[in-house]
């Protein structure tokens, strides 16, 4: 990489690192996320225990698979909270005006900041998930280094897509004063389409429709790679995640490009 290109790339890395350190200062905040996550996993472990009392398998998933599915599927969600609120708040308050006149790509910079912050948030959740999952469902179904590598890549892509979709939704604040409803709808759809339940649990038609949406890329993909690893399908899931990330990135750029022109900021 040329030194000019390295200097250009460095700003995003430093932004991610500053954001990670700032997030680490809010200890109570990420402790809260870990506690909420553990509570969710514990409650669902009880739900699955009852559901599996009468039968050994549901839609090809046994108890341990369902629980590990849930442990992984929830990680990107819990590790990426707050990015919508932060950017939408900056746009609504006019604070964004002070952030756009800088020599950086706004979307890339915000993404780097969000990724740095999420990285700090996700690591303790990952640790807590591994410990809790192991405690209630036995060791994770990790069979090879290749599976572990694909799982890590898939989790990273799921987290990236979570961030990008939140940023895209937040950017609608340039047009809509109260856009929190968009986040609410998005979260509920994501929950139904792959986060709470594997897609195989949904009715055939719903499952087929869900596979054409970005929601499975947010949670189903990494969870499925852990509980039902097969190289071919796993790579296809990863490819779909990468494609959705690219599409979400383009969407963010388009929304920002158009939204910036609508920027109205009066007064000091």
């Amino acid at each position: 990489m040329s030194s000019a290109a390295a200097l250009k790339a460095r700003k995003y890395l430093v932004a991610a690192s500053a954001s990670a350190r700032a997030r680490a200062a809010y200890r109570g905040d990420f402790l809260g996320s870990v506690i909420a996550y553990c509570l969710f996993v514990f409650v669902f472990s009880r739900v699955w225990r009852s559901a599996y009392a009468a039968r050994p398998s549901i839609a090809g998933y046994d108890y341990a698979m369902s629980l590990w599915y849930f442990v992984v599927a929830e990680i990107p969600y819990f590790g990426s909270s707050g990015h919508f609120r932060e950017l939408a708040g900056d746009i609504k308050s006019g604070q964004v005006a002070y952030l756009v006149a800088r020599p950086y790509g706004f979307v890339g910079y915000r993404f780097a900041q969000a990724a740095g912050s999420s990285l700090v948030a996700v690591l303790p959740i990952l640790g807590a998930g591994a410990a809790l999952g192991g405690l209630v469902a036995g060791p994770p179904p990790l069979g090879s280094a290749a599976q572990a590598a694909l799982l890590a890549a898939s989790l990273a892509l799921a987290l990236a897509l979570q961030i990008l979709l939140q940023l895209a939704l937040a950017l609608t604040a340039f047009w809509v004063e109260e856009n929190s409803a968009f986040l609410w709808i998005y979260q509920k759809l994501a929950l139904v389409a792959g986060t709470l339940l594997p897609l195989e649990f949904l009715p055939e038609t719903a499952s087929r429709i869900a596979r054409w949406t970005p929601f499975p890329a947010l949670a189903y993909a990494p969870a499925r790679i852990l509980v039902a690893f097969a190289p071919g399908p796993s790579l296809r899931l990863l490819g779909a995640q990468a494609a959705w990330c690219a599409a979400a990135w383009i969407l963010c750029l388009a929304l920002y490009g158009r939204g910036r022109r609508r920027l109205v900021s009066q007064g000091g």
């Binding site: 030194s3 000019a4 200097l7 250009k8 460095r10 700003k11 890395l13 430093v14 932004a15 500053a18 350190r21 700032a22 200062a25 809010y26 604070q95 005006a97 002070y98 756009v100 006149a101 800088r102 020599p103 950086y104 022109r261 920027l263 109205v264 900021s265 009066q266 007064g267 000091g268």
Partner: protein, 329 residues
């Protein structure tokens, strides 16, 4: 050589109007009402490189909107702006490398991190290589006297310390022009004095163009050599600080106190305040000779005290705001 140029710059916003009452609110759900707000109306001025200019106006006059157009934050609705030879709305990113901005009420420092971290981030944003960044940071830390608290989280700094860090942060990339919007707001008198001295030093040493908006007359008097006043989105005064101060010389405040009750009557001059033994006059020196006035006052009785003061610059500017007395001809 010109640093900042505005030619017929204007900005019109479309603002949503929310009428009173439930019926009106329901109506606005279906058919929202909008009103056009002319925040800036054809503002024109030129600022030379190395000049320090005060950009003044009452609240809502359009100052911040103008600064936002000059720094590329907002697109003008009409007219043209040029800063350091670049059109801010078209070459915003390129321009950002050459200008600095300090908004007194908006921080660019990370609240939970020490200033050194924000400096490092800004150094990276402006693509300074490590050696250049460290040299500049150390130089600014020395000049601004912030070395001792570079590693203290911003939330633990006093406002004065934070503002010094804010200004130093905006200078890391050695901008040729610095825009400051209320940089001393909330500071105590000592901190204000220090910030003003630093700005003056910066202009003298580095030739930085300073474009300052402030409601604090001290900032304007100490830092700037010229004042542009806008009101209702249009320039009403553009003159040197010297000329502006001369306006204050055109009006004298004369106070007199007599040893005993005296009939204080002067032909053609009404006091603005009068008691049995004292009076205060606002004297237009173009219409009345001070020397003659003082002689007349002394002749009226036994004078115990006599004062002659210039009108304050603050009053001059307030008068411009209030009635457009200084409207550009």
């Amino acid at each position: 050589m010109g640093a900042i140029s505005a030619r017929g710059l204007s900005k019109t916003f479309s603002a949503k109007v929310k009428p009173e009452g439930l019926a009106a609110s329901l109506r606005s759900l279906v058919k929202p009402e909008r009103r056009l707000v002319e925040a800036v109306r054809g503002v024109s001025f030129e600022v030379e490189r190395g000049e320090a200019v005060a950009f003044l106006g009452p609240n809502g006059a359009g100052k911040s909107t103008t600064i936002k157009m000059l720094t590329g934050i907002l697109h003008p609705s009409g007219g043209r702006a040029e800063v350091l030879g670049l059109d801010p709305s078209r070459r915003r990113v390129e321009l950002a490398r050459s200008i600095g901005a300090v908004f007194g009420q908006k921080s660019q420092l990370w609240f939970h991190l020490p200033p050194s971290d924000s400096f490092r981030l800004l150094g990276a944003v402006y693509e300074l290589d490590r050696r250049a960044f460290e040299a500049r940071r150390d130089e600014l830390a020395e000049r601004f006297g912030i070395r001792d608290y570079l590693d203290v989280p911003v939330r633990k700094l006093s406002l004065g310390e934070r503002i010094r860090c804010e200004i130093a942060a905006s200078l890391l990339h050695s901008p040729a022009a610095l825009f400051l919007d209320e940089p001393t707001i909330g500071l105590d008198v000592v901190a204000k004095r220090e910030v003003r001295a630093l700005l003056e030093e910066l202009r003298a040493d580095e030739g930085t163009t300073i474009f300052l908006t402030s409601h604090d007359i001290g900032d304007i008097e100490k830092v700037c050599k010229r004042a542009i006043v806008i009101h209702h989105g249009a320039v009403v005064v553009d003159e040197s600080m010297k000329d502006l101060k001369h306006r204050s010389l055109a009006k004298k405040l004369v106070g007199v106190k007599y040893a005993r009750p005296t009939a204080i009557e002067l032909p053609g001059l009404e006091p603005v305040k009068r008691t049995a033994d004292a009076a205060r006059f606002e004297v237009d020196t173009r219409a009345h000779r001070i020397e003659e006035l003082l002689r007349a006052l002394v002749e009226l009785g036994e004078v115990e005290d006599l004062t002659v003061e210039d009108e304050s610059l603050e009053s001059v500017i307030a008068a411009i705001y209030e009635d457009g007395a200084g409207r550009k001809e």
